[in-house]
Amino acid sequence: MSEAKAHKVKDIFVEGSIDPAYIATSIAKHTTRTDIGAHEIFLGQVRADTIDGRTTKAIEYTAYRGMALEQMTMIREEAFVRWPTLTCLHVHHSLGVISAGELCFMVFASAPHRQQAREAVAWVVDRIKSELPIFGKEMNADGGHVWKENR
């Protein structure tokens, strides 16, 4: 991995939900990389949870962008050190109001073999959930809201 590749800060944030067609385009771009044997993709979808009789209809995501992107750059670099055969790693997270049923998060890793792609995605998803300053306002159907907290 070159220094340039390692330290480039990529913007992971997208305004609005993640379009499945975008994911298809992202998958299709890898057909020229014939050293890839395995893709692992995690997608987060907004759930319409009902707590105390109130149902989530959407989550409004905000982020401390500067810190989140710096944290993500470190996580990405560490991932390529932990799984040296990883071919690529794509991360997107939504900002703004995402309705229940829509996609808000994607982690997509590719590698020659499945074990690396699988482990890298699980690890990156968990790191992002615990370390990126992203905030979620769960908007209920009744007009109220609750602030989401990752456990």
Binding site: E70, Q71, V125, K129, I134, W147, N150
Partner: protein
């Protein structure tokens, strides 16, 4: 110095930025508690120059300070 507020903390403060002066992080915490009375009941972390800092430290006023409620990404 400018203090950035996010999520629930910004909501409670009624603002996304505060202008506060403090020579140390512990004094900054005290100023924040005065300005946002609800803060003592909330879980939050403070980032100095985009890194979460738990111990006390001196501040020179040029740092980027942020008050962060629990993370909820993903």
């Amino acid at each position: 110095m400018e203090v950035l507020l996010f999520g629930l903390i910004a909501e409670k403060a009624g603002a996304r930025r505060l202008e506060l002066e403090a020579p140390t992080l512990s004094e900054l915490r005290a100023r924040l508690a005065e300005r946002i009375p609800e803060l003592s009941a909330l879980s939050y972390a403070i980032a100095v120059d985009r890194v979460i800092v738990k111990e006390d430290r001196a501040l020179n006023g040029s740092e980027e300070i942020a008050v962060l409620p629990p993370f909820a990404g993903g």
